[in-house]
């Protein structure tokens, strides 16, 4: 199939605005009559609130209102567990929780007033470790867990700190381990980390009376936000209008809801004013959401020939103070921890556990990097025990046509080809012998494989609208947020292909407004190109049908006899009999003004077919929907003197189905790899014993800089078209980060002969093991 606009690079539609500094992000918007909000956070990570006195703060200069959670009985949840209130009531459950919001005429005056709020706390025992918290029945972070409303796919355990328990029971685990000649087992840990999108979270909220509100937010999920805010106050959803301007990176940290319920609640006390709140960097790290936070153990069994017979795992997620946004992560980590292998007998228990830390939310790949660390380290250990190449062992067990995955779904050829991905990685990394250890360096090479499914609402959908201008140019409108991934440009190229029109004639939406944008569940789970792209194609075909219907009247021919080439509708049997698209877009107007036909505006939607929540007893079902497979590999060296890891080459090969834009897909992949390198070698949220984050800034929480780039990155996209993907495209966005940690840890083993099961692996730790 030859394409004109798919698989090619064009200038991104948002590039000009972004290189000239004219792209407007949330903090760049201004509103008349703006008031500023600042937030009081507690000095304790777990404490009962005895009293809050706001009198002095209310009298402070410039203050319009001081809002606390006292008397607020609202509980909200964005995903399906309503366990959070907009401001702390009765107790605080993490040190970043909002206790009071001051609304004042300036940020400075609001800050000064914060200091005048008096709060009496009764400190409680702080729980940070998820395993300890899961076992502790004396200290409960949510005493009323049993009363919270939740979706039927959530399994809280009232009377404990466990707010969700996902069980996978595939086959017979005892039989599986009986069949195994060899087993390998290890304990794993991936600590809490910070998404660190460059743009801090921000929100502006303006109530019109108490019944209608307009919100501007740096959100990945404007429609979800609309629903959550409306439900908090019992309002029709349509009374909440959400705008999303340019978003400066998100990586999941701006999905679901974070700061918006708090500001919406507070701003309702000052209707008519735009109440503005932009997080400080510290607040992004202490008071929005964090990612990961998994501790667990896993065991893999195999026959001596290398067939995997059994996989067992337990994963405990330090979900933080609220479980709503963690539950899907727990589920997806559970069924993906098995890895991209056909294993008949699997038993996984994944627990979402309340801890006194900021809530965990979606973070690039959520659940998958945690699970992938387990499966891919175990596979390497197993290969050594079996004295087999780790690549061969993977090939023996890869999911492929006819095999069933952990969910019991049958994998088909069109789901992707792991063998091709691994072949590419093998050629790039293992073609030459590994350099021998020298005075300065130890050398190592490693690989890992991965799979990723989306996980979200089962009715998650994307909608598209196409409308023609009088000259035949097109407005393309969707509700997917472009937070840098290039969503708008991808949609534009897909529309150009489907409409057979030059890119220049297609103007794509640049911001979201729930009043005007078509519905989108959330821009998460790497789903937008896939689902939004399908919606674009369906909508384009509908629009073309309208043009054809209009033309059929003019050309006096049945619709099915007509063809379309982007510029004309023509008679298939005689293309010279034609009428221009631009003459058909508002119906067809005859000389004299008589007009017939429809206005060419169309909309359509798309969602995953037969997508359901996992079965409650076995944790299986059609819960993946669509899969992306891939393999990564690296060649690295470790400096003996410093313990520093230098990645000379990093290779990523994913079966992406179809490349929409080579430049943008490479940008996604190499960016995800560097983020993964940060996760593996540098990044970790640190806590003091009493539960305060001690590195909530970029001076101490070190992100990768340009100096951490691998010497070379190779990206090879395999293109096995997906049966239902837009022009065969598959999801790819979070995926590049999923297997980076096991890839590097496998290479570190190769270099040092030492096993690491915990990230990050720092130079100090490496020095420690190399000395021995």
């Amino acid at each position: 199939m030859a394409f004109d606009y798919i698989g090619k690079d064009f200038t991104r539609t948002d590039a000009y605005a972004k290189v000239t500094g004219t792209a407007r992000f949330i903090a760049d918007l201004s509103f008349p009559g703006t008031l500023h909000a600042q937030v009081l956070r507690p000095p304790h990570a777990h404490a009962r609130i005895r009293s809050i006195t706001t009198t002095k703060a209310e009298e402070s200069k410039g203050v319009r209102r001081v809002v606390t959670g006292l008397g607020c009985d609202i509980l909200f949840g964005a995903c399906g567990l309503l366990d959070q209130s907009p401001l702390a009531r009765e107790k605080v459950r993490h040190a970043g929780e909002p206790v009071a919001v001051v609304i004042a005429d300036s940020i400075n005056n609001a800050r000064k007033a914060l200091k005048k709020i008096e709060v009496e706390y009764e400190p409680l025992k702080v729980l940070l470790d998820p395993v300890e918290s899961a076992l502790n029945r004396d200290v409960l972070i949510h005493e009323r867990l049993g009363n919270y409303k939740h979706l039927s796919s959530y399994y809280p355990e009232p009377g404990t700190n466990v707010f969700h328990h996902y069980r996978l029971r595939k086959g017979d685990i005892h039989k599986g381990f009986k069949e195994a000649d060899v087993t390998v087992k290890a304990d794993f840990e991936m600590p809490l980390s910070a998404h660190s999108a460059l743009e801090p979270h921000g929100v502006v909220c303006r109530w019109q009376g108490k019944e209608k509100v307009e919100i501007w937010s740096s959100s990945q999920g404007p429609f979800l936000l609309q629903g959550v805010i409306a439900d908090m106050f019992g309002l029709p959803h349509a009374n909440v209008r959400v705008h999303v301007p340019y978003v400066g990176g998100a990586f999941g940290g701006k999905s679901d809801v974070t700061i918006e319920p708090m500001i919406a609640y507070a701003a309702r006390f000052v209707p008519g004013h735009a109440v503005r709140y932009i997080c400080s960097r510290k607040e992004v790290m202490t008071s929005t959401v964090l990612g990961r936070g998994m501790k667990g153990s896993a065991t893999l069994g195999a026959t001596k020939e290398g067939r995997f017979t059994a996989f067992r795992a337990e994963l405990y997620f330090a979900g933080g103070a609220f479980g709503d946004t963690v539950t899907n992560i727990v589920t997806v980590a559970g069924h993906n921890s098995v890895g991209p292998y056909a294993i008949d007998n699997c038993r996984v228990d994944a627990f979402g556990v309340y801890t006194n830390s900021p809530p965990v939310g979606a973070y690039r790949g959520y659940g998958h990097p945690e699970g992938c660390l387990m499966s891919e380290r175990l596979v390497d250990m197993m290969a050594r025990k079996l004295n087999m190449s780790p690549l061969e062992l993977r090939r023996k067990n890869f999911l492929c046509e006819g095999k069933t995955n952990s969910l019991g779904e049958t994998i088909r050829d069109h789901n992707g080809n792991l063998f091709k991905c691994l072949d590419h990685v093998e050629r790039e990394i293992f073609s030459n012998p590994k350099p021998a250890e020298d005075d300065r360096y130890l050398y190592g090479r490693g690989v890992a494989s991965m799979m990723k499914s989306p996980k979200g609402a089962t009715n998650a959908g994307s909608c598209c609208q196409i409308k023609f201008c009088e000259d035949g140019s097109v407005h393309l409108n969707l509700g997917g947020v472009d937070m840098g991934q290039g969503a708008q440009q991808a949609m534009r190229q897909i529309a150009a292909e489907a409409l057979k029109m030059p890119l220049e004639k297609i103007s794509v939406y640049s911001e979201i407004d729930t009043q005007h944008s078509p519905w989108e569940w959330q821009t998460v789970a790497s789903m937008f190109t896939w689902r939004g792209g399908n919606a674009v194609i369906k909508t384009a075909y509908k629009a073309i049908e309208i043009l054809k219907k209009n033309a059929s009247m003019v050309l006096q021919a049945d619709v099915e006899t007509l063809g379309y080439n982007g510029e004309f509708i023509f008679l298939k049997t005689d293309p010279d009999v034609k009428v221009a698209v631009r003459e058909l877009v508002r119906g067809y107007m005859y000389k004299g003004g008589l007009t017939v036909g429809e206005v060419a505006e169309a909309s359509a939607s798309d969602r995953l077919p037969r997508y359901v929540e996992p079965d409650p007893r076995f944790g299986m079902g059609n819960a993946g929907g669509t899969w992306t497979f891939g393999c990564q590999g690296c060649a690295l060296k470790i400096e003996k003197k410093t313990g520093k890891v230098i990645i000379d080459k990093f290779v990523s090969s994913f079966d992406v189905g179809r490349v929409i834009s080579p430049q943008m897909i490479r940008g996604q992949i190499v960016g995800g790899v560097v983020m993964g390198i940060g996760q593996t070698l540098k990044e970790k949220i640190d806590f003091s014993g009493d539960g305060k984050i001690t590195n909530a800034n970029w001076k101490k929480y070190r992100l990768p800089t340009i100096k951490d780039m691998p010497g070379k990155q190779v990206v090879i996209c395999v293109e096995t078209p997906e049966a239902r993907g837009p022009f065969g495209a598959r999801c790819i966005a979070e995926h590049p980060m999923v297997a980076v940690s096991p890839t590097i840890l496998n290479a570190i083993y190769d270099a040092t002969g030492r096993e690491f099961f915990k990230t990050p692996v720092t130079p100090e730790e490496l020095l420690g093991v190399m000395d021995k």
Partner: protein, 166 residues
């Protein structure tokens, strides 16, 4: 207590009354309505607020020295394209290389590189890397940013040698 500072921004002269605590970034954004420089951290670690002050790349969020700001010439991202809105070759290199994803760090990186190459067109790879390591990007993995810097330098030097290629 307010200070009055006189400064020239992108060739336009301003006299601004501002609080002692205000940074150059506050002045640019809140007083002059120039929103191109961004605040990512507020303490000079991410470089998203990088502007050029008397030829030097500075993080505007940490620049509070009113004596230094007073009488200075500032260049921000808004001053880089020409009056017709045509992109500067450095901006073009960013677009072509795919160095723009979310765009939040973009103005800072562009100003950092503009200052570097303005002073030192022949900057070595190490010097370029050193300069760019003062800015953070979370989207691109730096590869496309790096390529944009090299592409711009190559073109700029090519033009200087009189062998510009289209």
């Amino acid at each position: 207590m307010k200070d009055t500072v006189n400064l020239t921004v992108n060739g336009v002269r301003y006299s601004v009354a501002c609080e002692k605590s205000e940074s150059l970034l506050d002045i640019l954004r809140d007083r002059l309505g120039l929103f191109g420089a961004k605040e990512g951290c507020g303490y000079g670690e991410c470089g998203s607020c990088t502007v050029i002050l008397d030829g030097e790349a500075v993080t505007a969020c940490t620049m509070r020295d009113k004596e230094r700001i007073d009488g200075s010439e500032i260049m921000t991202i808004e001053g880089l394209a020409d009056n017709e809105g045509n992109l500067h070759p450095l901006q073009e290199a960013f677009v072509e290389s795919g160095a723009v994803q979310c765009g939040f760090c973009t103005p800072g990186f562009i100003m950092r590189l503009y200052a570097l190459f303005d002073k030192n067109p022949n900057a070595s790879a190490n010097e370029i890397r050193e300069a760019m390591s003062k800015n953070l990007c979370r989207c691109t993995g730096y590869e496309a940013l790096w390529e944009a810097a090299l592409l711009y330098q190559k073109r700029m030097l090519g033009e200087k040698d009189g062998c510009a290629r289209k």
